[in-house]
Symmetry: C2
Subunit: 151 residues, 2 copies
């Protein structure tokens, strides 16, 4: 087996372990999944804390229908609201509520701690993590902000 295939399979495997760990902490402390958290985080990064649902889908790497279904519970528990566009009747925005923004702050602290624990165990340097981030950015296709290093 080639190295490239080997590392691909390891990546797939690593992801499931990683997701489980985030889900456990985020679920236990805040009652949300990693997918929920990522959704709220993207909304929090957007201007005004709101995005068109189609853009949110693109940012999350999901389909529009995945976003529709994923937002339902977040709307139900009051972290996100649906807003309409006065100019274009087709679009619906997903917007962070004040509660949502407050809860997101707590979740972010939890998620950062989990990530810190994960990357604390192996003796890997900041540069190693940076390199990995750069490669993952390419692998991940479009959608993430980009983390472009200064030239």
């Amino acid at each position: 087996m080639t190295d490239a295939l080997d590392v691909s399979l390891r990546l797939v495997r690593a992801q499931t372990a990683l997701v489980k760990r985030f889900d456990a902490s985020l679920g236990g402390l805040h009652g949300v999944s990693l997918a929920d958290f990522t959704t709220l985080l993207r909304l929090g990064q957007a201007p005004g804390g709101r995005m068109r649902r189609v853009d949110l889908a693109e940012a999350l790497g999901l389909t529009a229908s995945g976003v529709t279904r994923g937002l339902v519970p977040l709307e139900r528990i009051g972290l996100v609201t649906r807003e309409t566009d006065a100019r274009d009747g087709r679009v619906a925005y997903a917007a962070l509520t004040d509660t949502g923004r407050a809860r997101l702050t707590d979740m972010l602290a939890t998620a950062e701690q989990v990530a810190a624990e994960i990357f604390a165990a192996p003796p890997w340097s900041k540069e190693d993590i940076g390199r990995m981030s750069a490669l993952l950015t390419r692998l991940g296709g479009t959608g993430l902000p980009g983390h472009t290093p200064a030239p």
Copy 2:
């Protein structure tokens, strides 16, 4: 956001893109998913081309029930058979058929090519891929062979 959280989210994102790519090629050429291929590959690596289903689950990072369900289509199309243990009536083996082994060879070539394409695009060295592999091994928990480098 910390670097550790950033790279975690990128990893999750990268995985979905990667899986889609493998699924497209493996599905198109051989009619199997990446999960199917990984299952067959593990069986192929095992002595005698067969494993107890519980060990297969461990190797794949799935639950036993996930393996039961995942093997059904592979048995149906004749790539895998179920074998029993004469000594222990509880265990059922999943075993690669001759057809399965032949098809696996073709699939492996396809998968290696896809992986090569993925890792050809970014100008990353063999060492970079090796480092990434090592980190992913730690992240991924147990289950993979290990790739321990010579001391």
